[in-house]
Symmetry: C2
């Protein structure tokens, strides 16, 4: 096996993922665990990381670890204060280096981004945006990052001009799993496109007035659970798209995400006559971490 | 003590409340328990009721019990099929009489209402609307019934023309107690009016795009928990008011509710220059159950 040159880490609230990379950028090893930021005390981060990467380290030298995500939050390993937009996605001058006991390691944490008005924050997505820009430095348009909290960012001339968070995924989980709507939504079947589209079309009506209709239709008309779940997803994603700032209209859209979730957004955008490009999340995250690593190496 | 003439029962998902009334409508006794519909199997309803009212019954005769609420749902004591609007609030011709073992009892359950398009249902609120109409038979306007699920109904010439449900209270509980927003909302202080008003004013922006701002402001600007909770309440109630059908504009509004919750709606309506009248929920529920009892007595 080639020598491990550096290690890329994506450390979110619920998951820790690491990749060992060669000097030429090849992925040599990959490992993941459920030891996300949310489950760790401040003195447990180094151990959780070593659990995954110990075998990749060389006792004779220091290996650089470049990390992004909630690991840099106030409740994380060490806080990496937000960089304020407009700015380049990765504020490399403000990279944070937590102290480590293991002499084989040097860890760098990439700061997240903040926006003052309207107030907003992100962590981790800045690196995916940097990954997109590594491949397309001239990209001018929107980046859509679906998830528990969907993020939309406007990118131009290598800078993030502004961004907005939507709690779409979290609201879907709460409403379908814990609200009164759960009674008509049991199960976990595939997306039913006609029901999803019906939800999208209802996006012009205010959300609070449409939700209970799903319960009522299940009581009165026997609306099936799969259709109800799909309609709810369409209602929420439709509201997200309808809630994008007007100044963003007409810009191209790049969706960063995987599989069915990304496809759901691509389809929803297509119904608004917006042809979106889709990029895989892992590929873009790795490209963003590689861009950060290059700058760290150049600067030291 | 005067003789118990009949017994009024308001039986919701989480609560059971009963009142013993004299022939002249005076409340002689009141009792309540947490044995709501949601916690009872079909063969437990009679027992749960007797627990509260056994001492009010006379072995020498049959006492009429008139009940409204979720007790008539499919998962309740016995299903009382919905009456379809437009119709009088209480479909007394469709009253349901569950079988009882105790010979001292006769129980009548008042049906809820349904609407076909948009699909909607209610149970219990029909009786509060009937209570309002008992005092003001000519009322033409909207009835606002705040709660876990707020209900708004249009009433004219003694009929409910249409209604709409908003999941405002349930969304507030889920978002403030279980979403990422809970981190900035701990505690249970009184409503902070300036923050509530700020939430109301943000109602013109789509809800999904405004929620995460509360989290970001708490991270970036130290938004206090009480202000964040109050702002969320304003955001949701503002969205509810903005989501009322256009055809209802200009109609007078009567809020049925108690204490702080009713006052919160009255205040929110006042910011839209709508002067709403407020009526206490218990008084209106009792008036509605009395109206039903009068018809039952007249018809037998």
């Amino acid at each position: 096996m080639s020598e491990v040159s550096w290690i890329a880490v994506d450390w979110g609230t619920t998951q820790l993922r690491a990749w060992a990379l060669s000097g030429s950028g090849e992925v040599l090893q990959h490992a993941a665990s459920a030891r996300g930021m949310g489950s760790l005390a401040v003195d447990q981060f180094e151990g959780a990381l070593l659990e995954l990467i110990d075998g990749w380290l060389d006792a004779a030298r220091v290996t650089e670890v470049v990390a992004c995500g909630m690991v840099g939050a106030r409740q994380g390993w060490r806080e990496a204060p937000y960089a304020e937009v407009p700015c380049a996605p990765q504020a490399m001058a403000q990279v944070i280096r937590p102290e480590v006991s293991d002499k084989r390691l040097r860890v760098s944490i990439i700061p997240g981004l903040c926006q003052r008005a309207p107030a907003d924050v992100l962590r981790g997505e800045e690196t995916q945006i940097a990954g997109l820009l590594a491949a397309r430095p001239d990209y001018h348009g929107l980046v859509c990052l679906p998830g528990t909290h969907s993020k939309w960012a406007e990118v131009r001339e290598g800078q993030v001009l502004g961004f907005q968070t939507f709690m779409t995924g979290e609201l879907f989980a709460l409403l379908s799993g814990q609200s009164v709507l759960r009674h008509g939504m049991q199960g976990d079947g595939p997306l039913e496109l006609p029901a999803f589209d019906m939800g999208l079309r209802a996006a012009e009506r205010p959300l609070l007035g449409t939700l209970f209709g799903l319960r009522a239709e299940s009581l009165l008309e026997g609306l099936a659970p799969g259709a109800a779940r799909s309609r709810l997803s369409g209602l929420l994603i439709g509201q997200e798209l309808a809630g994008l700032p007007e100044r963003w209209q007409g810009l191209p859209v790049c969706v960063i995400g995987d599989g069915e979730a990304a496809e759901r957004y691509r389809h929803a955008l297509a119904t608004l006559n917006i042809a979106a490009q889709t990029l895989g999340a892992e590929q873009v995250t790795l490209a963003g971490l590689a861009a950060a690593h290059q700058q760290i190496r150049g600067g030291t």
